[in-house]
């Protein structure tokens, strides 16, 4: 399985698990100025991701055609206990659970930090854009 998942599973405390996930985000090395376009808006990191007290902290802006739509309430952004997996039927991580009848079931997943960072920023972007 993935290195992050293995480390999370091996950690003995919840704070250790959170810090491992957060460090995985920071280790992507996304620098100030990194950006992508979503729903016609440009999402830009204005302060690079860094660790702070076991969390991920960064600043981001949302702009379109040169106009800044970043709400004053947005920054800085702190992510606590960030996700690191995406569902993938061909993934190498198996998440087990019991259904309502008590029968064991599984979900397959894989590690994909870049996808989780993008989806997190997209979700924040949705909240901003939908409120415009």
């Amino acid at each position: 399985m993935g290195a992050i998942h293995d480390a999370v599973q091996a950690a003995s405390t919840e704070s250790e698990r959170k810090a491992i996930k957060a460090q995985a985000w920071v280790d992507q090395g996304l620098a100030e100025g990194w950006n992508f376009t979503y729903r016609g808006y440009k999402v830009t990191l204005t302060v690079a991701m860094e660790m702070d007290s076991g969390d991920v902290v960064f600043n981001a802006t949302l702009s379109k055609s040169g106009t800044d739509y970043t709400p004053a309430t947005l920054n800085p952004i702190r992510i606590v206990n960030p996700p690191y997996m995406v569902e993938d039927a061909a993934g190498d991580i198996t998440i087990g659970y019991l259904d309502v009848d008590g029968n064991p079931q599984t979900i397959k997943a894989r590690e994909d930090i870049p996808a989780r960072i993008i989806s997190q920023l997209q979700d924040l972007g949705d909240k901003v854009i939908d409120a415009l």
Binding site: E14, L74, E87, Y97, L98, L124
Partner: protein, 242 residues
Amino acid sequence: MSTTVVYASGESGRIRLEGGPTYLDAARNNGSITTTGPATTSYPGQNFAAGDYYCYQSFLLWDTSAVGTDSVSNVDFDVDGETDASDVDYVVEGYAFTWSGGGLTDADARDSDAGIPALGSIISSYDTTGGWTTTAGYNQTMGALSGFNAAINGSGNTEVVLISSHHRTETAPTGSEYVIFQCTGNTNDARLTITHAPSVTYTYAKPDSDISASGWATAPLWSKVDDPPDTPDATVVTGTAS
């Protein structure tokens, strides 16, 4: 201002109350109980299946210590819905409830005769008549109310229990009345998006006059001061604002 996004901690879980053929034995926790924590999925609601009654409760915990002493102005509570089994619609109600001591245990179950009425105000509310989104991602809101702002514990964990409105009213299910969402240790764990800012304390001194405000066309302006006034009869009003 700032934004803190918190994903459910690994302590989160669920409890199933089973009453056999008697609904109130499930609702009032007089039957059998199954506690699962942590739980990768959770499903607040009720069920009547194969002649047996069940009540399901979800217990969620987020480490919100990063909020500190800030004033919270908004909370969004979102989940990744997995299954819609709400053949009969109901309201998923959220309550602030500290359950985490020693991890989730049978004792944390909330029965309808005493436990649920003691929970206090509803801080999140989602009516399943609005459907239950099961597409991947955080597409299902749990309807955080303004009371959720005050429920955020800036010095530790914020803990919530989700129950069915029909459990609260002891309305027996006739079939499936539950919805499933990803809880913790899954790909999309239950999430809070919190908007907050440092609390600002304003101190105002009463106008230097004993004239009744009723004699004024508008109330006299109170002067903002940095420190409480020295005059002993001056009234000081303090408060917080974002």
